[in-house]
């Protein structure tokens, strides 16, 4: 089954990265957006997104390969994948 990995704190990214699989996606939200510039995201091979309002609220820039999405994108990712895992 496919998972969307919801990274709520930047420290959660470390664990998340070891457990992703093909078909998964990663979403950075809340303090998780601080991980948006992590170089490991580029090599991940699965889609990575970050919530733009959470990033703007923290003065964080979202740059490719991370896609900027709204909470509608958050909902879409949850719906499109079989389950979600929160890494807080």
């Amino acid at each position: 089954m496919s998972l969307v990995h919801l990274v709520q704190h930047s420290a959660g990214l470390n664990s998340c990265l070891a457990h992703v699989a093909d078909g998964d996606a990663v979403l950075l939200f809340g303090d998780g957006v601080h991980a948006a510039s992590d170089p490991r995201l580029a090599a991940l091979g699965i889609p990575v997104a970050a919530i733009n309002e959470d990033a703007a609220g923290r003065g964080v820039a979202i740059v490719p390969p991370v896609a900027a999405v709204g909470y509608d994108g958050f909902v879409a990712l949850v719906v499109e994948h079989d389950a979600s895992v929160t890494w807080s």
């Binding site: 809340g30 509608d72 958050f74 909902v75 879409a76 949850v78 929160t86 807080s88």
Partner: protein, 130 residues
């Protein structure tokens, strides 16, 4: 889809309840349904009616209540977690030998079984951590 939300962070210590609310709004806008919003651990602190915020600080609890009222979403706080944090209805308070109540109107207390049921019935469950 029916989506259940599990919220574990308090409004003061965490962005969890605010993020969960933005998620819930977006879910409804996309035609989905919030099956239940269940507050566990420090998340129950949202339901303390004695919370009094400075005028320039947003009241996430009030925003959740307005949303729930408008869209018929049930806001449930874990009875055990709430009792540990001083959030009790009159019945719980009386059982503990106390007079009064601290539960804010619009929130209901219930056991963890309600969350398990919601998880079983919903198509998706999303955790908002502390």
């Amino acid at each position: 889809m029916r989506i259940a939300l599990l919220i574990q962070g308090a409004p003061q210590g965490s962005d969890a309840p605010a993020a969960a609310l933005r998620f819930a709004r977006a879910a409804l806008a996309a035609g989905h349904r919030i099956h239940r919003a269940f507050f566990h651990k420090d998340g129950v602190c949202i339901a303390n009616r004695f919370v009094s915020l400075p005028a320039d600080e947003p009241d996430v609890a009030a925003e959740w209540l307005a949303f729930a009222d408008r869209h018929g979403v049930e806001l449930t706080v874990c009875v055990a977690a709430a009792a540990r944090r001083g959030v009790v209805d009159a019945g719980e308070a009386a059982r503990a030998g106390l007079e009064g109540a601290t539960l804010r109107a619009g929130f209901e207390v219930a056991g963890l079984g309600q969350m398990i049921e919601a998880m079983l019935e919903a198509d998706r469950t999303v955790t908002f951590g502390a």
